[in-house]
């Protein structure tokens, strides 16, 4: 049954030390800024974080890393012009890094939500990121065996939820939201708007309510101008 939290702080309160937390967003699009801030405030530590990047500037995920709360990060692109906090922790050996090709990251997250135990993918074959992994020739291509990435919690942002937990997104802010919500045992979603059941057309639901555990309404989420963010 859907939990509608009163605040971002209440939405993240169950996140425990040592949890694996998926965080949605690609660039500024779909970043659950208020939920990440609430997680920083909450204080959970020894986290494993799954995100496309490893934080930008001094806020959000970068801040969480700076504070030493992140033990391991699974992402596709940690090194950015303004990922200095990650860089510093990484070079000091204080954070573990698993780099995953972005499409394999997405498919591994999808596999977790879909109950797939492992899958063969051509991406990464013959590269350092596939070293030591099982390889098989399938459909005329060498393919690498990859495993699902499960999470205890996911923090994502959608545009609107109804009271059954159904979600719709906006434009490219959809990105990792649907698959992370499905892959996490407890999915936490911030939305701009919560409407009654029946107010979202069942044909256009992107994330069915079964995947959503907690929603919190953040009417006017912070959103940085993408032109001010560091390069990818």
């Amino acid at each position: 049954m859907l939990n509608i939290a009163d605040s971002a702080a209440a939405a993240v309160e169950l996140i425990h030390d040592g949890a694996c937390v998926m965080i949605g967003g690609f660039g500024v699009a779909g970043q659950p800024v208020e939920l990440i801030d609430a997680l920083i405030e909450h204080g959970a530590k020894d986290l494993t974080v799954v995100n496309n990047n490893a934080g930008n500037g001094d806020v959000g995920l970068a801040k969480l890393i700076q504070l030493g709360r992140v033990q391991k990060i699974i992402c596709s692109f940690p090194r950015q012009s303004d990922s200095w906090h990650f860089d510093e922790k990484y070079r000091a050996g204080e954070i573990e890094l698993e780099v995953v090709p972005q499409g394999n990251l997405a498919e591994r997250i999808r596999a977790a939500g879909a109950g797939i135990g492992a899958f063969f993918t051509p991406t990464g074959y013959g590269t350092p990121l596939a070293e030591g992994k099982e390889v098989r020739e399938l459909d005329g291509k060498h393919q690498v065996l990859e495993y699902p990435i499960h999470a205890d919690f996911s923090l994502t942002k959608a545009y609107r939820a109804d009271k059954a937990g159904n979600l719709v997104y906006r434009k490219t802010a959809r990105n990792f939201g649907p698959i992370m919500a499905a892959a996490a045992t407890h999915s936490i979603v911030q939305v701009s708007d919560i409407v009654e059941r029946g107010q979202i057309d069942p044909e256009v639901v992107v994330t069915p309510g079964i995947y959503v555990d907690t929603v919190v309404q953040i009417n006017r989420p912070q959103q940085q101008d993408p032109r001010e963010e560091g390069a990818a």
């Binding site: 690609f26 660039g27 500024v28 699009a29 779909g30 596709s76 692109f77 940690p78 090194r79 950015q80 860089d87 990484y90 070079r91 890094l97 780099v99 995953v100 090709p101 972005q102 499409g103 394999n104 990251l105 997405a106 498919e107 997250i109 999808r110 993918t121 051509p122 991406t123 990464g124 074959y125 013959g126 590269t127 350092p128 990121l129 291509k141 060498h142 997104y169 906006r170 434009k171 490219t172 802010a173 959809r174 990105n175 990792f176 939201g177 649907p178 698959i179 992107v206 959103q223 940085q224 101008d225 993408p226 032109r227 963010e229 390069a231 990818a232």
Partner: protein, 219 residues
């Protein structure tokens, strides 16, 4: 030697982008990598009916957004704000990379550090031991599309050819590149053989001396 020299000077990135654009068939679905390949979109016209894919979840990506057009929820894989085109669509990351991995894109244009004569591509990691690895969608793009084109300057700033016998940098994809567009010429790769289709600002013989790979003239 019958290789046409189609310019009296090495091509600028913009001129090269136009050459690539001319080679993209009408109606194609295309992914343009971050950096130089993005320029190709400037030379695709509406009549070409080329649909651009951006791996962060959109088909039918439009031009870069400016001023009031900027919407933080609408960016491309380079995290640059863009606009919609009519007939565009959105989807999540797993669906977006399934589209690519499933071979539905007709072509993908990527930058490169090195390409070798077997079509191996290195474009994600310099191999320096202290570099922090970061791959993004590069490996998925390299192996997913029906054809992978590379667009790059033929040489590094230090003057070394980036078209090599065997990549020395960590690979992005194995045997994935079928064509290389450079400021000095266009190279076609097939079964380990490198054919020069055309040259720019240099003759075939002169070009062949600058590359430590055996080149075959077209025809």
């Amino acid at each position: 030697m019958s290789v046409p020299q189609n310019s009296d000077h090495p091509l600028s990135p913009e001129e090269l982008a136009e050459v690539v654009a001319r080679d993209i068939p009408a109606g194609a679905y295309v992914n343009l990598g971050i950096g130089q390949p993005t320029l190709v979109s400037n030379y695709l016209s509406a009549e070409d009916d080329v649909t651009l894919h951006t791996e962060n979840g959109m088909l039918g990506m439009g031009a870069e957004a400016h001023g009031d057009e900027v919407d933080p929820d609408l960016i491309n894989a380079g995290k640059i704000p863009v606009v919609e085109t009519e007939g565009c669509s959105y989807f999540h990351h797993a669906d977006s990379f399934a589209m690519m991995r499933g071979g539905h894109l007709d072509c993908c244009v990527l930058g490169a550090f090195q390409v070798d004569q077997q079509g191996n591509l290195a474009n994600w990691h310099t191999g320096k031991p202290d570099a922090i690895p970061a791959v993004g969608g590069a490996m998925d793009l390299a192996t997913g599309a029906k054809q992978t084109f590379v667009m790059m300057t033929l040489k590094t700033k230090k003057g070394q050819s980036k078209l090599v016998k065997e990549c020395t940098m960590p690979l992005t994809g194995v045997g994935c590149v079928s064509r290389i567009y450079t400021d000095l010429g266009v190279f076609l790769l097939e079964d380990g053989k490198v054919t020069v289709r055309e040259t720019f600002g240099v003759g075939f013989d002169e070009l062949a001396q600058q590359v430590d790979v055996e080149l075959t003239p077209a025809q």
